[in-house]
Amino acid sequence: MPLERLVTVVNPLGLHARPSARLVTVVNQFKSRVLIRRADDATFVDAGSILSVMFLAAAQGASLVLRAEGEDEAAALAAVAALFAEAQEPSNVF
């Protein structure tokens, strides 16, 4: 059974190039397949593709659904969700 979790983008500038890059880097550290979609759109895209993540055009306040499936799915989901919890960190440029 794949695991899912709902997260919210808190970065004032949204999920842009740098946060997207971090997200993709973290996703690719796990064996599980991680997917992501906008809560208002049923189509999942590959969270390991920076272009897919950028195309979500997730602005501040956007709700996103994460889905992980694979041997380390719980760890993968926790790691990715933690990125959102840490407020996509106070980046100094993006």
Binding site: P12, R18, A21, R22, S49, I50, N92
Partner: protein
Amino acid sequence: MSSSPLTETEVRFAGLPASPGVGFGRVVRLVPQSRPPLFINVLPHRVTLEIERVKRAMQKARRHLESVKRHFREQAGQGSAYLLDPYILMLDDAILTQAIEDNIRQRRINAEWAVKQAVESLLDSFEQLQDDYLRQRRDDIRDVGQRLIAMLSGQPMRLPTLDAPSTLFADDILPTLLAEMNPTNFSGIVTDAGGVTTHAAIIARSLGVPAVFGAREALDRAVEGAPCIVDGSQGEVILHPRRATQTVYLGRRAAEQRLRRDGLASARLPAVTRDGVVCHLLANIEIQSELPAVERCGAQSIGLFRSEFILSSEADGVPDEESQCAAYRAVIAASPDQVATIRVFDFSSDTLPSDARVAEANPALGLHGARWWLANESVARSQLRAIARATEVGRARILLPRVTCLSELQAARALLDAVCRELGLTGAAAKRVELGAMIEVPAAVLIADRLARESDFLSIGSNDLVQYLLASDRGNERVSYLQQPLHPAVLASFSLIVAAARAANKSLTMCGEMAAQPACAFALLGLGIRRFSLSPAALPSLKSALRNLRVKDAERFVAQALTLDTARAVEACAATYLDQSRLER
């Protein structure tokens, strides 16, 4: 640097201030070396070979960018190196690789053309996005595409070698190419295209290289080897500068370097004078990417957001209410106290978006500031709606620029009230939106008491006020000696404004860079100003200056200064006081 004043005249032009600092160097023109890719149909058995070529090129480009990242980390520090991650990840991205492969397989075309097509269709998809910031990331995809094509064609992009201080002139610059540059001898960069929020601008700022972007026809005007000054703080480019100009800019460069050396050490300390008077330091900002610097530089709030700068990232025209609202929300949310002073669009006939530009003989005395804004009611209305809606994340102080008559303030108030009613903002919610007048026209100084009565707060725009009071254009070098912020007329004006704000019990903020000069900060303190809004970079040194001053001394100085006859006399008097207090320490 020597110029040849007999043969070459000084040429000045302006662009967007993309990376601060002043640089002196000679022009190096960067013209694209690689030819556009050729379209070739390939035979069926070549298809797999072309796909192999693409894979190898991607791998090579990725390895190359990894090395650029290492180089950039050495130059700009660990904190900036991640800027290259999106490019590296794109060169590994399934969507891009798949699109290129499909092109080759289905259309039997060569790798170069397949890359070109795939990049173009991605760019089209980006064009559809609602989000302005993301739409600007087109440059990044274009960058990756150009790198790939260069790798495929076996002509890797070559960097100019800079043997002496040099300023690069280009039509546009790839962000990753900029990251590859060595900052030694790199005195500046000027481009025809580009904006202040592009990755190239961010990279230039990380490298500390002064940059002016969006300077139209810059490449055409620049002759290889011509001496040049780039002022990335003001957005100015000067070719063949005269001796006098060089002196002015050498001074500016020294001041900027001093500021950087002083560092941010004092940013965390409270802004309290030696005799315990609390001051408030706020930040002037123009673009959203400056937001993180606000807190880092020790600002407690955003004292001036120049909203017309959200237009420079737009192709043309005023952005719609939704995108404006998102921008204002980001500004308010990023302000340390969730309060932002947002100045409504301040245009004059020569700074309007190109489609609306009109010719006026004298733009500084024409339909500008509040006049233009009130004359364009639909623009004003949607801006007010956007700001009012953005206050769900905090509070907004709406600032009306270049107010001349009380009736302008009243008209703006009526419009704001109407918008609040429309949006159902009443009671406490309506109180989150305040309205204030910016005092920068001499007439406004003389009716400051009336303006204070009907404003929720007042701000002084010192740059324009000095310019209008002394009837001299700060961009005109022949009268630049008249930029005298300590002119007795300026001091007397400030004194009137402070009195008006005090009598009406309204907050007063000084917006402008003059407070960055110690003598001016001393005078403003003595005049009774306690709220200062400056560019974030100027705040740390202002704070350390304020912490070394005493209000008691400043008031004694001002009492004397108001009786003096000339700016020079005031400056000399300030110097005496400041020397004295230095000796006491």
